[in-house]
Amino acid sequence: MPLSALLLIAYRSVVNRRVTALLTVFSIALSVTLFLGVEKIRSGAQTGFSNTVSGTDLIVGARSGALNLLLYSVFRIGDATNNVTWESYEDIASRPEIAWAVPISLGDSHRGFRVMGTTAAYFDHYRTGDKQNLQFAAGQRFEDIFDVVLGSDVASELAYGLGEEIVIAHGIGSVSFAKHDNLPFRVVGILERTGTPVDRTVHVKLEGIEAIHLGWSGGAAPIGSRAPSATDVRAADLDPTSVTAVFLGLNSRIAILTLQRDINTYNEEALMAIIPGVALTQLWDVVGVAELALSAIATFVILTGLLGLMTNVLTSLNERRREMAILRSVGAGARHVALLLISESAFLASAGALLGLCLVQILLAAAGPIIVEATGVFVGGLSVTSFDLITVGAVIGFAAVLAGFPAWRAYRQSLSDGLTIRV
């Protein structure tokens, strides 16, 4: 009996039982979709994570925790416990090993998006992904105190174009009652999408942040006629007195550890410096537990799918005794019967796994933009990775191995049934 003929019989037999076969294929497809989807989102999150900041050698902030500093300075999550005084900033920035220093000032928001005050050097030195500088989709850098540069998500979600006038609120809630509405800002630039928190940030000059807080005292806005007008602001002294954090680039990477130690033991102020890559790894380790749990669940879902397949083959054995006896009568050996079941399992698993692979590609291609929008995680578009192929291969292999049990049962059954048809 040529193998191809036997496989054809296996195929026709499966098609004959197409309803249960299809359900089995779908359950395997869904489990493979889930497994691969989890893996793609996980690896997308991890890459996105390590791509949020690059080219920065140290981040300096008030002394707190490394993760806290990383979260508020890079991810715009949480708040700084304290600020860095302008004197300390100038002192550190003027050290000979420093190539560049970009101060940032956080604490205000615009309709739920964080506002970050910084200098023009930010656009020269802040890099994401694989050493990518920030690119402008439209407009240019801020020059005036009231100029604003938007991240791509801010512009698209709020439907802002160049020249739009916006009001910045104090505090970081999406609904804020203390609005700096006496001083409207104007959009002069919109950045290209980076897939990082930069997309969800409103950038202004450091002086702009100072300007909107002019006349404020004790966290309360100036009342009535005491509120400064734009002309008052331009006349005022807008030199910042403090910043939230500082991004540093060094002339030589060899100096990183020395400088980090110097800053951590800085006498004039309680400061700390973190190496972004190291802090990112620490942060990923924290997230990694959830990631592991997710992967474990996905693995169990795949196992469930495979057990379902085995159950299906096993329960079909009784109704297929007749089929087996007919095949035996025309000369099929017990090993043919076993091979029939194993090839059926492998066939169903192949169909399921490949369908799952297609599903995950389609789903991620469709949902990818939404996921990026909502979480900033790039899941990667249509791409079949070696991990995908290994998964598909493993599912088919496991299905064939698991089918060994029903196949053995059928083998025993066909030996004891002999040439009698039992229905």
Binding site: I9, N16, I326, S329
Partner: protein
Amino acid sequence: MDAGRAEASQKTADSAVVINDLLFSWDDNDTPLLDIAALSIDRGERVFLHGPSGSGKSTLLGLLGGVLLPGAGGLSVLGQDLASLSGRARDRFRADHLGIIFQMFNLLPYLSVRDNVALSCRFSSARAARAEEAGGVGSETNRLLKNLGLPDVAMERPVTDLSVGQQQRVAVARALIGQPELIIADEPTSALDADHRNIFIDLLSAECSASGATLVFVSHDLSLAKTFDRIVALTEINRADMKEAV
């Protein structure tokens, strides 16, 4: 070699089935299901094997088909001692030399009429070759179905469209294609009504005679036995006590 044994050996080769002191039981220590002192069927003979249910018919068929092995004694089919063959060789022997027809449900529901008949040739290159010699598997299928009174059956139709009687004739065509030497029919008429039974047996007998095949027809219904060359009652040749099995 003495003359007597040579003569016996020659006779074995000429016979379709030769059984000597055959014992069969499911377990070695169990009471035997079958205990047959002697049974010989000549080539070309059409034998009616009669026995009530539980008399060991199915077991005997399993032995003849090479699916079961005797516990002791001699069993030779078409001159071949089945016990001396490996499992694979017995499967191949069955594919090459035997045609088997069951009571009912002979056909694979997911194959067409043509593919069901051709199934025998798929498992046996010898039978495929003999069918090719006779004009090809397709034309042999046509010829057999025509002789069996199914000339108009669409070959590509699913077999589930056919009546039980038609299905049984397709099963006969499958058993006969490629000219196997021994046809075993296990109560093939039990699902047919009385008129169709006699027609069916006549067709089966005629086709076996035409191809020179030996026919072993098993049934509990003695009224069907009249056209056969010989009637063998299993209850008479089987010395095992079958009361427990019944």
